[in-house]
Every structure is written in structure tokens, then in C-alpha cells.
């Protein structure tokens, strides 16, 4: 029987297997950030342990960093201490670090691929659930907790048990104005936030093949929102073209050798999956979430659902609680929902392609008068620089957006960028949990183009008919 891509990645990294199937799995790359690493470094110090392979790690501060007036440093003393602790730890343990004033600084899941530090066939971990992003490159990538961060630092291995392989096939031509974000939300809407639990999801099908690497990263990024351990996409020409000449990617003869190996990173035609889902995307509309879980999502043409129609009592109660928190009445048309804040950014949607799509919606227009704040936060310093070279910063600024420095920003509101209680946000991030973007804040997840159009209109619009 043929192997799945997940099988291939797993098998090539097993150092030792225990009788019960638990494996010592070798980790090729660890990405490190300031929030989930201090206790891991402290643990190493407490046990007088060093790093097994310092060069396999790459660190960058992203969660806590300010996105304005970088030169002033970090005002909040607890955030500052955390970022300084990362810098000191990286120095003490010889971990490569992109400091806050480095142009390469940015969100760890944008930086890794951009640098070519994410390569096909690797196992990649980071103390952050959105590590699933890197699966877009045919790498086995997943988020881990701090104990595991410490373990990878000390041993370059993790203790893992193989999960099931699930395939989500997205077939058909992706309609205009429908993006990878809409595909991701539609998948989660279909299978639920626990639909991928106990599985690695391979995204396949003609719609996935047609996506750019940016789009594939968006899709894999949200695999965790479907409960999956990892998201995966097979390697093809798009993958290889993206990686050519990236600073951390191999060069010369080694590149040719690597490409040859990478070409085998796909599921065999006769591979069997433990779960399969098929979605025809050819009539998919832009998606908008209405609740406090990413599975509470509907097409922009839809209406806020009525809890009375929900048969399952626990789900009904969850929907009632969500609509109360979101202050939405059942039956409200999604396009009638007015917003206060717009956030374009995050590891889901802050790459150049995302910023281009958003800029395309606002060029020559103005942010609606009642919008409190509209932020564009590029995913990295290099994304920012590339966007500026194309004049996107001017497009956003002239429309009334703030053009910020790179970081996680309002996706999780650990820095100063956050929603005030009751504010409603069109956000290109990945989680609409209660309080995620600030206590009492209300999040609607959308694509960059949808968020940008909502900023101009002041409410959600069906961008397919809007222009």
C-alpha cells in the first residue's frame, strides 16, 4: 500500500520506537519566541543542560513587540522584560535571533518561510499553535507546549505518537474574490473545530494546487482551528520556486540534491487516509464568522443563525452564549453588521499577497467615518519593506489606515493593540474567541479583501458585487 505524505514525513524522523508506538521523533527546526520560551530556558539552566543543536533554532520576538514607534522600545515593563529575557537567553545559549530592530524581525510563522528556514521534509516545532502554517511546504509542523520546547532544546527530539492521516480535498476553480482564508473558514465550518482532532490534515485537490505559497500557508495556519495536529500540502513547482534563493535554503549542488528529495514529498496515489472530506469550492462565497468559535461561520450572503433551530442542547447553549457575547440577533444579515475596528495582520494573513488584496479594495477610497481604528500590521519587516516598494503603504494611509511595524499585534492583543470592551472588529486573524482581541471585544474573522472592504463600507459587504 502506498504512503501518505504524513507517513513519509513521520517515518523519516523516527529515532526510536517504543513497543506501545510512542516514538522519539527527531526535530529539524525549532522556532522560538518570547512568550513560551523563558520557562524552557530556565529549565535548561536549572538542570545545567545546554542546547543539543543551537543552529537548529531560530528566535524572534513577535507577540509582545510594539507596532508603533519602535525606536522608543517597549513601554510596558512586563513585556519589555519578556523580550529582553529572550535576547539574553539567545545570547547565553548561542541561538540565532532576529532582534526587534532587525528588518527580518516579524511574526515567527511569516519569518520562517520568508527566510527559507522552513524547508520541505523537515519536522518543525514552535511553542505556538499556529506552527501548522509551515505544513504548506510539505513539512511536518506543529505547535508544542513549553515543556516540549525545553525538550527539543535539550535533546532535538520529541516523544510523539503517530496520529491519523486525514485528507481534505478542495476541488474546483476558486471564484474571484474568494481566498485561501475563505477556504480555511469553509473547511472549519464543515468539519468543526474538533473535526481534525487526532489527525494531520493534508489539503489536496485542484483548488489547493492553484494556491500560491501564501495561500497554502493561510490554509495550513488554520488547520489547528479545525483541531488538527498539523496541516500539510504536497510539494510541487510552486513550493520549490518560492524557496529558491532564500537565505537559509540550500544553494548550488545541495539545492539540486534537496529538490530531488523534495519531489517525493506527496502522498502516493494508492495511499489510504483514515478520514476524507471533499468540498467543491467552485461556488464558495466569501466567509464571515458570527460567533466565538471559528466553526461559527457563514457565507457573507447569509444571516446570523437562530439557536432555536439547533437540535443539540450543548451546541444550542453555546450558540446562545456566543450571540449574547457578540451582541447579534438571530436572522441579522451579515452585510448589516456594522463594525468599529479593522485589523489586517497576523500569521494567517499578513503576507505581501494579503496586503495587495486588501489595498486593492481601498485604493482611492476612504475608511468609513464611524470606524475607530483601521490597522495594517505587516507580517515581517521584509513584508513591510516590499509593500512600501509597491506603494501599498500610501494606498492604506491615504484611505485612513494606520501603517504599522511587524508583530502579532491585535491578533491576540498582548501588546498595546487591542479592542476596547464592546468594540466590533473585522479581523484577518485566526481566532474569534471571547476576549481574544481584548476583553469584551467582538471579532469577525474574514479575508484581507473582506476586512478592507468592510473598513470602507463600515459594515460587511459582499465584495463580489461591491466593486
Amino acid at each position: 500500500m502506498g504512503k501518505t505524505l504524513y507517513d513519509k514525513l513521520w517515518e523519516s524522523h523516527v529515532v526510536r520506537e517504543l513497543p506501545d508506538g510512542t516514538c522519539l521523533l527527531y526535530i529539524d527546526r525549532q522556532l522560538v519566541h518570547e512568550v513560551t520560551s523563558p520557562q524552557a530556558f530556565a529549565g535548561l539552566r536549572a538542570h545545567n543542560r545546554g542546547l543539543w543543536r543551537a543552529a537548529a533554532n531560530l528566535a524572534v520576538a513577535d507577540h509582545n513587540v510594539p507596532t508603533t514607534e519602535r525606536a522608543r522600545g517597549i513601554i510596558d515593563p512586563t513585556s519589555r522584560l519578556q523580550v529582553e529575557t529572550l535576547e539574553r537567553n539567545c545570547q547565553d545559549f548561542s541561538v540565532p535571533l532576529f532582534a526587534m530592530d532587525d528588518a527580518r524581525q516579524g511574526i515567527v510563522h511569516v519569518v520562517g518561510p520568508e527566510q527559507g528556514a522552513t524547508l520541505p521534509g523537515m519536522t518543525i516545532v514552535c511553542g505556538d499553535s499556529h506552527t501548522s502554517t509551515h505544513g504548506a511546504f510539505g513539512a511536518l509542523a506543529h505547535g508544542i507546549g513549553t515543556s516540549e520546547v525545553e525538550q527539543v532544546m535539550a535533546t532535538q527530539c520529541l516523544l510523539q505518537k503517530k496520529v491519523g492521516a486525514m485528507r481534505v480535498r478542495l476541488e474546483g476553480t476558486i471564484p474571484n474574490h474568494v481566498t485561501a482564508k475563505d477556504l480555511a473558514l469553509a473547511v472549519i465550518g464543515r468539519i468543526g473545530t474538533a473535526g481534525g482532532t487526532g489527525h494531520a490534515i493534508e489539503f489536496a485537490g485542484s483548488a489547493v494546487s492553484s494556491l500560491t505559497m501564501e495561500g497554502r500557508m493561510t490554509l495550513c495556519n488554520m488547520a489547528i482551528e479545525a483541531g488538527a495536529r498539523a496541516g500539510l500540502v504536497a510539494v510541487d513547482d510552486t513550493t520549490i520556486e518560492y524557496l529558491a534563493d532564500r537565505p537559509f535554503a540550500p544553494a548550488g549542488k545541495l539545492w539540486d540534491q534537496a529538490v530531488q528529495a523534495w519531489r517525493t514529498l506527496h502522498s502516493d496515489p494508492d495511499a489510504r487516509f483514515s478520514k476524507e472530506v471533499l468540498i467543491d469550492v467552485s461556488s464558495l462565497a466569501p466567509q464571515v464568522t458570527y460567533g466565538t468559535s471559528p466553526e461559527m461561520v457563514i457565507s457573507v450572503e447569509g444571516h446570523v443563525p437562530d439557536p432555536c433551530q439547533e437540535i443539540d442542547p450543548a451546541r444550542r447553549e453555546a450558540l446562545v452564549a456566543a450571540l449574547r457575547y457578540m451582541d447579534l440577533a438571530p436572522g441579522t444579515a451579515m452585510t448589516d453588521i456594522a463594525i468599529d475596528v479593522v485589523f489586517i495582520g497576523s500569521c494567517t494573513n499578513a503576507r505581501l499577497e494579503d496586503l495587495r488584496a486588501a489595498a486593492g479594495m481601498v485604493r482611492g477610497k476612504k475608511v468609513a467615518a464611524h470606524i475607530h481604528r483601521a490597522l495594517v500590521v505587516p507580517g515581517s519587516g521584509l513584508v513591510k519593506r516590499a509593500a512600501e516598494a509597491e506603494g501599498l503603504d500610501r494606498v492604506f494611509r491615504e484611505a485612513g489606515f494606520e501603517w504599522r511595524d511587524a508583530g502579532c499585534s491585535m491578533c491576540l492583543a498582548m501588546n498595546a493593540d487591542r479592542l476596547e470592551p464592546g468594540e466590533r472588529c473585522a479581523s484577518t486573524s485566526n481566532r474569534n474567541f471571547e476576549g481574544r482581541q481584548g476583553q469584551g471585544g467582538r471579532t469577525h474573522l474574514v479575508s484581507p479583501a473582506m476586512a478592507a472592504a468592510a473598513a470602507v463600507a463600515g459594515h460587511f459587504v459582499d465584495i463580489r458585487q461591491w466593486i
Partner: protein
């Protein structure tokens, strides 16, 4: 890691689906650089009426409607929860907060993957029972003040009032670690020679994965 063998404790019910790790411990508390101090901020947004900030000195305003604030659930060491508990962010601060508050086990019909593993690595036992049994437990717990159960890890069973009410699965390796209070790093380092041999083999197959070795040569 604290050992886990048998636990008899008061059960507190948290009747919500998809409880995410942002709800378990909100992000403003993740700025800490130590492992301690998270218990007081467990479920912060639900537990208190005022907005919390790390390191604040003034007394908090408890939310009397939040279940863990009810006098009958004080001292609970077992949390009864709904499906997909611990979804969202990978923050290990979530099990740290639950443990420091006093929970040693969580019973739910399902858990999010990363949270499940983070819990096991910290001596917090996630127990999966079938959804109908969890439903029944929610009803009994709400009806019965002081309702407690015993979780027997060695025999992988849950006992209430002398009756077995369910059995649960656990990876045998993880079970041994919990029973012995063993940590993963010490265990893994027994296999240093295997790791080095793997690296040697891999370096031949895929030398681009070891760029630092090239510069050394």
C-alpha cells in the same frame, strides 16, 4: 512533575463547549517569565467582574455567577468539562494555571490535542469519558452537593460511591511517566547514542538539513 496515582476529589462542573486556552488563562498573563503565579488568574474573564492585569495589587471583584466561585465547589480538584476542552493556543500556562488553582484531573468527552499533551507532561490528568456518561455526571454533580469521584490511574477507571462509572484510555508510556513522576528530557537523554546515530545517517541522506556541520568542516 508531580506523581499521579489515585485521586479522590470534589468535582466542579464547567458546562461550556470548546473552552479555549484564552479563556483558561488570558493572554495578558503570558508575559510572565516563570512557571508560577497563574492559578489566581485561571478563567480570569469569567471569574472576576473587573478587568485583570498582571501584577496588579488591588483586590479583584469575584463574579458570583461563575461556577467556581460558588461556595459548594471550593476545594474542587476535578473539573468536569465539555467537548474539545483546551482548544486554541498551545500555551502550557493553561495546565499550569489549572494545577496551581488545585485541579489534578479533568473529565471531558474530548480534549484538544496540544492541551491534552501539555497536561500529561505536567501531572494534570485528562480523562476522556463517553459523552452520555459526562452528561449524566453533569446532572449528578449539580444535584449533589459535595459530589466527589475517585480516579484510579493504575486501573484506568473512575469510581463514584463505590461503583465504577467509567474506564479511560491512556498511552502506556504516559501512564508510566505519571505514575513515576518522570520527565521527558531525562528519559530521552538515555537515548543520546540513538539520536547521534540518527543524525549521522540523516546527514548523509539530507545534508542540507545540517548547514552548521558544513561550516565547521
Amino acid at each position: 512533575m508531580q506523581r499521579f496515582e489515585t485521586l479522590t476529589g470534589l468535582v466542579a462542573p464547567l458546562d461550556r463547549l470548546n473552552v479555549d486556552t484564552d479563556a483558561i488563562i488570558p493572554k495578558q498573563y503570558l508575559k510572565a517569565i516563570s512557571r508560577a503565579g497563574f492559578g489566581v488568574n485561571l478563567f480570569d474573564n469569567w471569574r472576576y467582574l473587573d478587568q485583570g492585569e498582571p501584577g496588579q495589587k488591588r483586590a479583584r471583584v469575584p463574579n458570583p455567577d461563575f461556577v467556581l466561585n460558588q461556595p459548594r465547589y471550593q476545594g474542587a480538584s476535578i473539573l468536569l468539562a465539555r467537548a474539545n476542552f483546551g482548544c486554541g493556543s498551545s500555551r502550557e500556562h493553561a495546565p499550569w494555571a489549572l494545577l496551581e488553582y488545585g485541579f489534578r484531573a479533568i473529565i471531558a468527552p474530548s480534549f484538544a490535542d496540544i492541551f491534552y499533551h501539555n497536561s500529561l507532561k505536567n501531572g494534570l490528568l485528562p480523562v476522556v469519558l463517553p459523552a452520555p456518561e459526562v452528561d449524566r455526571l453533569f446532572r449528578v454533580v449539580e444535584k449533589t452537593i459535595g459530589y466527589s469521584v475517585t480516579i484510579d490511574l493504575r486501573h484506568q477507571r473512575v469510581v463514584a460511591e463505590g461503583q465504577e462509572i467509567g474506564t479511560f484510555d491512556i498511552n502506556p508510556f504516559r501512564k508510566d511517566c505519571l505514575l513515576g513522576g518522570l520527565d521527558d528530557i531525562g528519559w530521552t537523554l538515555q537515548y543520546q547514542a540513538d539520536i547521534k546515530a540518527y543524525e549521522e545517517r540523516r546527514r548523509q541522506e539530507a545534508p542540507w538539513l545540517f548547514p552548521e556541520a558544513r561550516t565547521k568542516q
